[in-house]
């Protein structure tokens, strides 16, 4: 039910400001972007799609930051594992 999937806006409609064509892994569907009228959605933007409506514009910077953070945890983990391995050798 809470199924929301990220999709890329690939086309806007000249006659309907509230619609946009989105692409999810090569599958396309026209969705309603009326709930994001404040955001001025453009092709290339990514949105969260739920039952044929865009609920939110995906903040790519936040996404990148989130991944970088997770990457950082990963590195810390790897470093710790390495440290553990080193200490075992001794």
């Amino acid at each position: 039910m809470c199924l929301g999937i990220p999709g890329e806006v690939v086309e806007l409609y000249a006659d309907r400001a509230d619609l946009a064509m989105v692409d999810v892994s090569g599958v396309r569907r026209a969705i309603n972007i009326g709930l994001l009228e404040d955001e001025k959605i453009q092709p290339g933007d990514w949105v969260l799609i739920h039952v044929g409506f865009a609920l939110s514009k995906i903040d790519e910077e936040e996404a990148a930051a989130a991944l970088a953070f997770l990457q950082g945890i990963g590195q810390a983990y790897d470093e710790e594992l390495a440290a553990l391995a080193d200490s075992l050798i001794e």
Binding site: S25, G26, V27, R28, R29
Partner: protein, 392 residues
Amino acid sequence: MTPEQQVQASWAEEAVREAALQESGVAAGPVGREHLTTEQQVLQRIDAARQRKARIKEERITLAHGAGGKATHTLIDALFLEAFRNPLLEALEDQAVLSVGGARIAFTTDSYVVSPIFFPGGDIGDLAVNGTVNDLAMSGARPLYLSCGFILEEGFPVADLQRIAASMAAAAEAAGVSIVTGDTKVVQKGKADGCYVNTAGVGLLERPVELGAHRCRPGDAIIVSGPIGDHGVTIMLARGELEIESDVTSDTAPLHGLVAALLDAVPDGVRAMRDATRGGVATILNEMAKASNVAVILEEDKVPVRPAVNGACEILGIDPLYVACEGRFVAVVDGDAAADALAALQGQPGGEGAAVVGRVKDDPPGLVLLKTGFGGTRIVDMLVGDPLPRIC
């Protein structure tokens, strides 16, 4: 709705009473009887419930009965098998292998009710030929002859019928079979959805192979012949109700060539083969796990799925493992023969996408477990309900 008026759901009370009766084997007592407290005991109870003889609880046929999942199996076990029972039928394979005058003949039938009739990648005619050819091929037989019966709705365009017949002729030629007998019926408008087709087929089992879902054993490898879910997704999108566009096309194709290559390469190493139609790969694997009483361990990362099929499934919240194919099969082969089997398939046209997707183990028996791409695990049970009505 006001809190004062209140009735009971009689079907639910009945279901609970019945379950309690079956478990205790005595006259039903209050449901709040001694309750098993540990998780293990509860799980054992569930296992026992799952082993119980199938019974049809519904009064009317629903679309679930045609989906290829639990309801379909219950219908077959509890109604058809009960009525027709004989050793040949009990094998419940995709085809029956008969001994006739010293020869081994494979015999099968299938009906095609797909909607829409014409879709990207094929039409009902292609399915009608390829589907039956494939059911024969799954036994290792060489498909030879098909019958075809049409049930046509009054008002169905003759041009469409010609198109379907042309498709069937082309598919038959590609598959090396002849359509040698048939039948046509016409029913009043509204009594059939355009055109329904039934095909029955016979093939010759010249190879000394004995295949069957009950033959899988621990150590065996599970191979799928190519990317899954193409047909089911194509049909769903072609219905036009979901307003989703994509390049996905049906994977309908005859499989006897791939099967022959496989059996040539590993004549003694194949345990079972089934084509993954309604209910998808998940259903086939459940059937095999149950028939052989083994565990099937599937690796999500290894299962080939086209990105567009994945995308459509993600949007709709469906699992590709349950989506029908019409030109893919699952083969269970001896673990030592897996590499040769895979090479044989990959070397054939149509088999380039073949992959080893899992292994057979002994525990937990009768179940299919999935190792997720993420490294976690989950159970892949038999399909319940009907996510994709009338796809083949």
